[in-house]
Structure formats: C-alpha cells, structure tokens
C-alpha cells in the first residue's frame, strides 16, 4: 500500500495523529510554541468526521480538568501546552495520576523559569520525570526527536496510558514542535464505541448501568492505612512500567570510547556532531533515551563499562545528568553541556564541549 508522505510541523503532526488514532477529546489553551496543535485541530474539524471533541478552554487549569473529567468516563482524551501552562496543570496531573486515568499530555517545552522565553528548552525534565505535582507519582514520558515521532508517539502514548492506566506525557521542545519534515501519518482508526469502553474500562464513570454498582472516581482516602495501600498499588504499576517499557536508541556505540547522552531534538544535534567527528576518526557514540521515565538506567550502566567518559547535552542547567550519574555509579566521569534561555547549541559547540571535558578524545 502506498503511504502518503507529507511535510508538516511537529505540532501539526500531533493534531493529525490524534484524529487518526481515534482520540475522543482534546482540550487546550493557546501558548507558544505549540498553538498549532489546537489551531490545526480546529481547522480540520474532526467533530464532523470522527466525532472527536475539540475545545479551547479558558485556562490550562480548566484544560487539564476537562481531561480529567473526560478520561474518567473511559474516553481517550488529551491536552497540549508549553512549560508555563504545564506548570498550571500540575494539580490536575497529580489527580489524573492518582485516579489511575489514561490521558495524553503534550509539553512542547520553552525556556524558563517564570514567563521565560518562547524559544526551545528542555528545562522541564525534572518536572516531567519526577512527578511534578504533589504526592508520590510518575507518568510515562516520551521524548520525540523527529516530526515522525511526534505523530507516532501520540498512538504509543495512548496505548501505554490505557495499558497501565496512567497518564503519559509527550515531552517535546520548540524545535521539534516548530520544525517541518516528512511524516507518514498512521491509518485512520475508528473511535471506540461506548460498548467497547464499558468492556475495556470497567472502572469508567459512564452512568451506572443496570446490574453494576456505582463507579466512583476519587483520589481522596482519609484512612491512612487504605491510602498507603493505594500508594503501594501506584508504585507496583510504576515498577511494572520500569521493567517493561524502557525505550532508547543507540548510535555508533559498538566501538565508542566516548558517549553522548541526549534526548529530543538535541540528540539530533549530537548525532550531527558525531557524524563529523567520526570522519576524523574519533570514536564517539550516542544514547538517546526515548522514554525519559522510565529511564534507560541499565543500558547506560552497560555502556559505562565500555566508554572512557560520558557527555550529557541538554537545553538546561543539568537535569537528566542526575539520572545518568545514578546509572553510571561513578564508573566513569560524567560531564554536562547545557545551553539555557532558548539558546540551541550547534554541532560544533557540542563537539567542543566533549573535547573541553575529555581532552584525550581529540587525538
């Protein structure tokens, strides 16, 4: 079958992929650099075709709570925003995680803190991978590096979210949100029927049918003993996810003496630097975590036994490096190169950072 190759922005790809996946509802609020998600959905009018609901909310606080309400009924529901808006959603995210609800949240990161800049950043790594809101929780975090992955991870995110009854976040940055490249969209899938939802999501708040008791979606439990049981259940799910869902990609690691670790679009800049370095005979490789939570701890630990040093490159002051260091456990030096405020390093700067920290690499 011939697949249609299209040229579009990462943000647009998310909108198209959401419709193709059969998403039931999108609730969002405009913020740069991801407004094209809502704009594209409004332009495509999926309510006329698949029946997907698209609504511009009055705030990110309202958006995430609309997601909470929709997800409670077993529907496939999503929102998208950028860093300051995601901060506003933290309360709702904590409730969605505690409610064990599947949902997809897209964060196209911009530089902070505060109102910050609209330019690309990865400074929400901690917020995304460590919970972000109140309480002990995690959710699955996928880091796309191409427009194709922006499209593909919509489906992956929802599939995992429903499999484990947990929110999933697509953690992108302004580069992959704004850039255009080729994308092949998935086949159109039908939205699930109410019967299917009742069968697959027996917990869903759908209106109590004859023969079943009330379904109550609450995150409140004043009895400490029972609340601890709830927490143990959340943690058991997280361990299962850590066991089964780590995703990553390795480039030129077979003979690598030095290793870059980078995610999202920055991994591509590192890869360009590596391609140039390899032409000069410098043996350097790249590990790109695709899931930031769960983190590819074991894989990095394995590579730490092979390489002489690790360079973590991020658009922040040093966040993922903490997880890399935990994985490496001091076996080899781990250094960081980061740009902030929306500055994106070019491949040469990335390579220079390796040589500055590991002079032996530049033989």
């Amino acid at each position: 079958m011939k697949q249609e190759v299209q040229l579009m922005k990462g943000n647009e790809a998310i909108a198209h992929a959401a419709i193709r996946y059969g998403v039931d509802g999108y609730f969002g609020y405009p913020i740069t650099p991801q407004s094209e998600v809502l704009e594209t959905l409004e332009a495509l009018m999926p309510w006329e075709t698949t029946g997907m609901v698209v609504l511009q909310a009055e705030s990110e606080v309202a958006s995430i709570n609309m997601v909470y309400g929709g997800a409670s009924t077993g529907k496939a529901v999503m929102t998208s925003s950028s860093s300051p808006g995601i901060s506003l959603m933290q309360e709702g995210l904590s409730y969605i995680a505690a409610g064990e609800l599947p949902a997809l949240i897209v964060n196209v990161m911009r530089g902070g803190p505060g109102l910050g800049t609209i330019q690309p950043s990865q400074s929400d790594y901690f917020q995304a991978t460590k919970g972000g809101g109140h309480g002990d929780y995690h959710y699955i975090v996928l880091a796309p590096s191409t427009v194709q992955e922006m499209a593909d991870f919509v489906a992956l995110g929802f599939d995992l979210a429903f499999k484990y009854r947990t929110p999933a976040m697509l953690l992108a940055d302004g580069i992959v949100g704004q850039m255009m490249e080729k994308v092949v969209l998935p086949e159109q899938r039908p939205r699930r029927t109410d019967e299917q939802i009742a069968r697959e999501c027996p917990w869903a708040v759908t209106g109590r049918p004859e023969g079943r008791g009330p379904n109550v979606l609450t995150t409140l439990e004043l009895d400490s003993a029972r609340m601890e049981v709830n927490n143990h259940r959340y943690q058991a799910t997280y361990r299962k996810i850590e066991e089964n869902e780590v995703r990553y990609q390795e480039y030129f690691t077979d003979d690598a003496e030095y290793l870059f670790v980078a995610f999202g679009s920055i991994a591509r800049i590192c890869l360009k630097a590596i391609e140039d370095a390899r032409q000069r005979g410098i043996k350097v490789g790249l590990l790109r975590p695709i899931t930031l939570w769960p983190f590819p701890t074991k894989e990095i630990a394995r590579l730490a036994q092979q390489v002489k040093g690790i360079m973590v490159v991020e658009l922040n002051a040093g966040q993922m490096i903490e997880d890399v260091r935990l994985a490496v456990e001091g076996r080899v030096p781990v250094h960081h190169y980061g740009r902030m405020g929306g500055i994106v390093p070019n491949p040469q700067e990335v390579m220079d950072s390796l040589f500055a920290n590991f002079p032996d690499a530049d033989k």
């Binding site: 009924t73 209106g207 609450t218």
Partner: protein
C-alpha cells in the same frame, strides 16, 4: 395493630429515597446538605435517570457526596468541578451531568471554571450550596460571607474594606447568555424543600434537553460554622442571609 398491618404500600406516606444508601452521613445535625442530597436522589430516581447520571463532587463539606448517592461520580479538585463536568458532558452528551459545589469551591477558587462553563452554556446543572462559610476546614470566611459576619478568619467580622463584598455569583451567572435557568432556593421549611426539589428537577431536565447551564443556589445553614443551634441557624438565615441573597428565580429562559 401489628407492624405487618401498618407496613403496607397504601399506608406509606414517606420513605428514604432509593438512591440514598445506608452509609451514615458525616454532615452535622441540622446541616442543609442532608436535605439537598435527599432531593437530588429523589429527582434522579423520579426522572428514571439513575443509569445516565454522572455527579461531580467538590472539595468542601460535600466532598463525600459520592458515598451517599448510588450513582456514578467523579471527585474533582477544589473548584474544578465545572471543568471536569465539561469534559464528561462533552464526551457523553446523552448523560445527565451535574456538579454539587459549595460557596468556596464555586465562587472563590473555582470562579473562572464556573463562569466559563456557564458562559459556554455547557449542558450541565450546578447545585450550589451557599452557607456563607467554609464548613469543612473549620469555619473560615467564604466569598459569600456577609459583611460583619464572624468567621475563624474574620474574628471581628468581615470588613468590606479588607475582604471585599459578599459575592452574589448567581446574579453574575444570570447575566451570561449561556445560562438558561438560575434560581435561588432554600430548604428550611417543608414548603421551601418542595420548591427546591422542583428547581433541581427543572435544572436536570434542562441539562438533558440541551438548553444550557442551570444553576440552583441553595441558601443554607452551617450551624457548626455559625456556632448556633440548627433552629437558631434557620432563624439567622432568614433574618440575615435572605436580605442579601433573596430567594426566587434570577433567570428562567428555557424555551430558547
């Protein structure tokens, strides 16, 4: 006469609503919540809507509403019930979706969600308990607290120069084209209970008919928070609350 002779359907003049379960309520004796819960249960049953009803509970005294009424419920974060209800209703248009909120939830922390849900004309019903105080957290000032009213955080009485004015949010909501029905009721006398029940039924019917947002404000007592007996609370409510929050329809525009 034996009890068996009395317990016959033709002799029945009153019974607990079928949807109200046997869980002991945590509400204080004399609190209006119990009566309103009963009305909500009765109306849903009488409409035959127990299989399509989705309630959205607030944070506040009614946080455990889901423990008492045997329908499907979602427990929202503080103030977010109208947004949660929006998500549920938009994706399930055939369902009877309603929120049950207090004054702090609806008119302080959730003001934005309330006004925008109403302004969009979401086909939901909002049951709004206004007792002019934060009951659950121990009697602090609410947005609807009266001028001069003593609360835990206004120990010398609410001063409008410091704390602003009692917020008549139902009057605000009645101005919005998205609302079809906004009414203010009470449940302190048998007559007022009957009227409040009719109002709740009308609001629920509007929701299913797609007329827009309906708001039923119930001016209520909080004898614990007000530090009065239940009987005295009712008197105080009539004397002080009703002049500020007069009962009656603020808007009844369901024939659009």
């Amino acid at each position: 006469m034996k009890p068996e002779d009395i317990k016959r359907s033709e002799n029945k003049v009153y019974c607990k609503p079928e949807l109200l379960n046997d869980t002991p309520m945590h509400y204080c004796p004399g609190c209006s919540h119990g009566v309103v819960h009963k009305l909500v249960s009765e109306v849903i049953k009488e409409m035959g809507a127990e299989h399509i009803a989705i309630g959205v509970a607030p944070v506040g005294c009614a946080v455990f509403a889901y423990s008492y009424i045997d329908i499907d419920w979602i427990e929202a974060a503080h103030g977010r019930a109208p947004a949660v209800a929006t998500g549920a209703k938009r994706l399930n248009p055939s369902r009877l979706v309603f929120t049950y909120q207090g004054d702090g939830d609806l008119a302080a922390i959730g003001t934005a969600e309330t006004i925008h849900a109403a302004n969009r004309g979401e086909n939901i019903a909002i049951i709004f308990i206004n007792n002019a105080i934060y009951g659950m957290t121990g009697g602090q000032m609410a947005p609807t607290t009266l001028e001069g009213q003593v609360t835990a955080t206004t120990p010398y009485g609410r001063r409008v120069d410091l704390n602003g004015y009692p917020l008549k949010i139902s009057n605000l909501l009645a101005q919005l084209p998205g609302t079809c029905y906004v009414t203010r009721q009470a449940v302190h006398t048998p007559a007022s209970v009957r009227k409040a029940k009719a109002a709740i039924r009308k609001a629920f019917e509007n929701s299913l008919a797609g007329h827009g947002t309906s708001v039923v404000e119930i001016v209520s007592t909080c004898n614990s928070g007000w530090k009065m007996s239940p009987a005295k609370s009712n008197e105080w409510m009539v004397e002080h609350m009703f002049p500020e929050y007069p009962l009656g329809d603020l808007k009844n525009d369901t024939e659009r």
